[in-house]
Amino acid sequence: MTRRVGRANAHTAKQAGMPRIGPLAALHIWLQRHAQVSLESLGRIFSKPVSSLLTISVLGIALALPAGLYLFLVNAQSISEGLDGEARISLFIKENIEETKAHSLAETLNQRNDIAQATLITREQALAEFQQYSGYAEALEALGDNPLPHVIVIRPDASAMQPDAIETLLRSLRADPQVELAQLDLQWVQRLHGMILIARRGALVISALLGLAVLLTVGNTIRLEVQNRREEIIIAKLVGATDGFIRRPFLYSGLWYGLLGSVVSLLLLWLAIGLLAGPVSDLSRLYQSEFTLLRLSLHDTAILLATGAFLGWTGAWVAVAQQLRGMEPR
């Protein structure tokens, strides 16, 4: 007498007088059942608004932090990418070189194809500019002689923007005997790049930790719910419920918690963006930049909702699997 599940199942249907139904009707019943269970789970969440709201707020905050961090990094990255094109090399010409020579040097450099533009700023121009902006006019006058050198400002070609190419360009510029000093004004861009890289690592770690927090929060909520409904679970098992049947309402609870948590996180993010948008646009106007704060796209929003739902579902799954093991009818 060996019977497998499938046959036991078929046997049940026959013996217990279960109606034979077509696949379409079965699908209809299945969908109906899932809709009902998911609504019941949602109703259960709303039936205890205070504790549910607390749980959902915790989830919202835990999800808003990594999402906010992500937004911040996307924004920082867009700034630093904007700055990539701003790499400049300042070529300080030796003091004994005359202006005409400096001019022809700038001309020659302009011919090179790894240089987009080379502009000479003569010592007189530099002094004038310096006096205009720095407020050191009197000090410079007291100095008498113009202490500034001629400077050629070089904008490297886009093709020479890679660190290696720039290094090569710098070396060849320094080799020129007329050049005192070639200075790359890129360091702070590189530093910014580096910082963003570190921040991204950090954000990844923080996101993972907060994701775990969401998992544990939902898991704990569901664990308590399973314990509260222990008697119900055992009775359902006694009348033939499978583990899948018993798990279902709890998985939906977890899904709803995660989803509602991510809705709260979206609200928090919109609030934060709204508060930051004004000051940021003021600041960027100050720097004559066209930078505007990037917002969560539709795609990002969908990902945030899906992540919340997935984490909630997973947390519930883990909690139920762990709790059901010890719940056999006695």
Binding site: V5, Q32, L238
Partner: protein, 227 residues
């Protein structure tokens, strides 16, 4: 339909609740299980519903060798055994309707079919007018009838009852026994544990008598004398 073959049940504490128990209940048969308190009646019924597993021997129910039923298969076998508990085991926060509907929801029936069958079962136990009540608003006898309706609603071939009349007065007990006889008449195999010897003997069904875990008497059905 129910077959016990040299069944022993020894609990983890070493207590042997059933020893070398053999009997067979044919399809459509109705029998009482009797014996003193602690004789092993509940344990025997719990083996049938796979709440416990036997330590030795073989139990088979509705064609399934229960020794070979895996954990995952248990629910499907349980659906073929309607279990009636002495303490009813109803969901306190659900209506009578929802309680009775549970086995059908689990089996995956559609709304309309569930409504139809639940009302048919409630009609049989005379509780059709109480479907919207919660169990706490019902008397002990009514709660027991809800339990019975739940046990038979998906028409299982086997129904077992553990002291179904334990807490009821004689009048209600008789009503419930009448109900069981009506199920038996439509072909359900029934095994009812009870220590109410008077109630049992009047009915003239087969009686299995346990004493300290052993089957000491197996009285065949008597021709009924109904005056």
């Amino acid at each position: 339909m129910i077959h016990f073959q040299q069944v022993c049940k020894r609990f983890e504490n070493g207590h042997e609740a059933l020893s070398d128990l053999s009997f067979r209940l044919e399809s459509g048969e109705m029998a009482f299980l009797t014996g003193h308190s602690g004789a092993g009646k509940s344990t025997l019924l719990r083996l049938i519903a796979l709440i416990e597993r036997c330590s030795r021997g073989m139990v088979s129910v509705a064609g399934h060798n229960l020794n070979r039923v895996s954990r995952r298969q248990i629910p499907y076998v349980r659906r073929q055994v309607g279990f009636i508990f002495q303490d009813h085991r109803l969901l306190a926060d659900r209506t009578v309707f929802d309680n009775v509907a549970l086995p059908l929801v689990i089996a995956g029936l559609g709304h309309r079919e569930i409504g139809r069958r639940v009302r048919a079962a409630l009609d049989k136990v005379g509780l059709l007018d109480k479907e919207r009540r919660c169990p706490v608003m019902l008397s002990g006898g009514e709660q027991q009838r809800v339990g019975i309706a739940r046990a038979v609603v998906n028409r299982p071939p086997v129904v077992v009852a553990d002291e179904p009349t334990g807490n009821l007065d004689p009048e209600l007990s008789r009503e419930i026994m009448d109900l069981f006889e009506r199920f038996n008449q439509v072909g359900v195999t029934l095994l009812i544990a009870s220590h109410d010897l008077e109630l049992i003997s009047r009915r003239g069904h087969r009686v299995l008598c346990l004493d300290r875990g052993r089957l000491v008497r197996d009285t065949p059905p008597q021709t009924r004398d109904r005056q």
